[in-house]
């Protein structure tokens, strides 16, 4: 593990901290003959061990692409990735293919919205977990089987021993998601990347999985980056939140701060337009318009075409990150440092 000097963004003071992840100026573009899609446009953040960062944003804002870039899971031919990504001491963007294989699973691993995309339909859950462990750690099959059972118990799958022999299609949605989490945790990663892992689940199952992830994080001390479009999910699991719009973090801070005092007009709009109890009989404060086309990103603040407070300067220059204590950042000209 590296020891880095982290600039504490709110006080400006330098304080030594062991960072699990440090991402600087990450940009991701997809280049094809017809267009260049600017999916991620200068994202920077840090994550401490055991911390949960929730990336909150609407469809197409670049959440999944950001996560995939951290694992280098994007098609190499058509993707241009720039910036720096350090995770647990690894310079991820410089890893060789073999080092990358080793990195995935053992240092960072990922869970997805649809477990069926990550599970192999022709192998039992037990085999898939055991194979993952053997591949990474070269232990015996018996040892791997023992660990697989432990893992199913860890993710609270009832009758775990029996479930080792189950095929993915024999499990309910909630159990399948637990099985995917078990596989992701098989090699004790330091960082778990979660891409909307509860979005496809029913309400009563979603909260079970959220509480499970929270508990696992506590027990295993992993860092977690969790992507969602649901404010409630962020409220339930986040230590810090980053709000993403058109490939940029437009606001970030401690979850309580951002929820109580959103600074960026987009975050404010998102909260105003989220239906919750007590709004009955009122008109929802919808944000007009739609997010920009990422192949034709406007200069300046990408939210300007939908923003009620936009001024000419917003369209000319990208607003700077403005930092307010404690650890609250927003990219908007209306926020005074």
């Amino acid at each position: 593990m590296t020891t880095t000097v982290m600039r504490d963004t709110d006080t400006g003071a330098e304080q030594p901290a062991r960072l699990l992840a440090e991402v600087r100026d990450l940009t991701v573009r997809f280049v094809s003959r017809e267009a260049t899609v600017h999916a991620v446009n200068g994202v920077s953040f840090t994550l401490a061990p055991g911390e949960v960062l929730v990336i909150l944003g609407e469809s197409g804002s670049g959440k999944s692409v950001t996560l995939r870039a951290l694992m280098r899971l994007l098609p190499p031919k058509r993707t241009v990735i720039e910036g720096s990504v350090r995770i647990a001491g690894h310079d991820v963007l410089a890893l060789s293919p073999t080092a990358l294989e080793e990195f995935r699973g053992a240092v960072a691993s990922m869970i997805f919205q649809e477990p069926m995309t990550a599970l192999d339909p022709v192998f039992t859950i037990g085999t898939q977990i055991a194979e993952t462990i053997i591949r990474h750690e070269g232990v015996s099959r018996a040892e791997a089987d023992r660990r697989a059972l432990e893992l199913l118990e860890l993710v609270q799958i009832p009758s775990a021993r029996r479930r080792l022999a189950a095929y993915p299609h024999e499990l309910s949605g909630g159990l399948r998601q637990r099985a995917m989490i078990a596989i992701a945790l098989a090699c004790r990663p330091k960082l778990l990347l979660a891409d909307e892992p509860t979005t496809a689940l029913d309400a009563t199952v979603q909260i079970q999985i959220l509480l499970l992830l929270r508990k696992l994080k506590e027990e295993l001390g992993m860092g977690v980056i969790f992507v969602t479009h649901d404010l409630g999910v962020a409220g339930e699991i986040a230590d810090r939140v980053a709000v993403m719009y058109a490939g940029r973090f437009v606001e970030s801070g401690e979850v309580g701060e951002v929820m109580k005092r959103p600074l960026h007009p987009y975050t404010q709009g998102l909260m105003g337009s989220t239906v919750h109890a007590g709004l009955r009989g009122t008109r929802l404060a919808a944000i007009p318009g739609a997010p920009p086309d990422l192949s034709r990103l406007p200069p300046g603040c990408a939210f300007a075409p939908r923003c009620a407070f936009a001024e000419p300067v917003c369209r000319e220059r990208l607003p700077e990150e403005m930092h307010l204590p404690p650890r609250h950042m927003a990219r908007c000209i209306r926020v005074a440092a």
Partner: protein
């Protein structure tokens, strides 16, 4: 006001007191074909909708909530007669549909549906103006008139006709496509619109736009809605009354305030309690329910919720609880032995 308009509607038959839609014992089971592993085994039966009864009053919005697979969409499809029921009765403004009653064609004119997948009901090869005008033309409206109406409807759903009328579905965002679907559903001037997860695929900021639009249209066109969603917050926002389904059955129904403030069925209570709070200072520590909804192929005997219910007792496995209120004429009904006097459940109120 809605009710004033409805009473002036020449199609209105029974007056404001007669429900626009009245559903009794609606049932549809799906017999599963034997799968590759099923040789020799008996094929399963999915009890997708199993004896569902409710009414929708003129001018109201009835919300239907429940988890995936509980039968919400099947109920909608049965009402629209996109699939045939095994049994049960559907009355539209007091009239049976088909078999000497109201013609299916006329029923489809008065009752329209909007689906979750905004692509599903739009022809990808037609400009959206033509998609909206299609049904009226089929129903005999002259082409020019139907087109003009389509442009009016585009304006009504907030899409400038000059800019959008000639676009194809793939040239629209999800929210815009859903507006087109709503315009299409309005084209035959229906009285009832069945909305099956109409905003579930949309982003929050766009969801709010479409919900506002639906409320405006309801007022302007004197509509009645059946609004299906798994999002409890959305259902609370739009509904006058709410119906909760579990594994093909109605477990609770009542006025929106009653359901959200004093839910009676343990499943409704757990469902409401499962909503993540937006306040990080008040996080949940225990999930309200454990396990997943059971397989609809072999639902539990008696009360179908009993395998997940913390209050289940012997009687819950033996007899299926009936929907009942706390007093005669109660509009708030629940199907749980704990709320039925003399059911034999230890928590049930005494007979009286």
């Amino acid at each position: 006001m809605t009710s004033v308009y409805a009473s002036r509607d020449p199609r209105d038959r029974g007056g404001p007191a007669q429900p626009l839609l009245s559903v009794r014992d609606l049932t549809r089971h799906f017999v599963l074909a034997r799968g590759v592993f099923g040789l020799g085994r008996s094929a399963g039966v999915v009890r997708a909708v199993d004896g569902v009864s409710f009414t929708v009053a003129k001018g109201e919005t009835l919300g239907i909530v429940g988890e995936s697979g509980c039968g919400k969409s099947t109920t909608a499809r049965l009402l629209m007669r996109l699939i045939e029921p095994d049994s049960g009765e559907v009355l539209f403004d007091g009239e049976t549909v088909g078999g000497g009653g109201m013609e299916l064609r006329e029923m489809r004119r008065q009752m329209q549906m909007v689906f979750q997948d905004s692509y599903a009901s739009l022809n990808p090869r037609l400009p959206i103006e033509d998609s909206i005008a299609f049904a009226p033309i089929v129903h005999g409206v002259p082409k020019a008139r139907a087109r003009a109406k389509a442009r009016e409807l585009l304006a009504a759903v907030g899409l400038a006709p000059d800019q959008f009328a000639q676009r194809y579905p793939h040239q629209l965002s999800g929210g815009q496509r859903q507006r087109v679907n709503i315009a299409r559903a309005l084209a035959l001037e229906p009285r009832l619109i069945v909305l099956d997860e109409p905003v579930s695929a949309l982003d929050k900021s766009v969801e709010a736009q479409v919900l506002n639009l639906l409320l405006d249209l309801k007022r302007d066109f004197a509509l009645t809605y059946l609004f299906i969603s798994h999002d409890l917050n959305v259902v609370q926002f739009v509904s006058d009354r709410v119906l909760v389904m579990y594994l093909g059955r109605v477990v609770e129904v009542g006025p929106v305030e009653a359901i959200y403030r004093t839910p009676r069925h343990p499943y409704t209570r757990a469902l409401l309690a499962s909503r993540p709070s937006m306040d990080p200072g008040r996080r949940m520590t225990e999930p309200p329910l454990s396990g997943d909804p059971p397989n609809p192929i072999n639902p539990p005997s008696g009360c179908r919720f009993r395998t997940r219910c913390a209050f289940a007792e012997g009687v819950c496995a033996e007899r299926e609880p009936a929907l009942s209120g706390s007093f005669t004429g109660d509009a708030h009904l629940a199907a749980c032995h704990m709320t039925a006097a003399g059911s034999g459940h230890s928590q049930a109120p005494g007979r009286g």
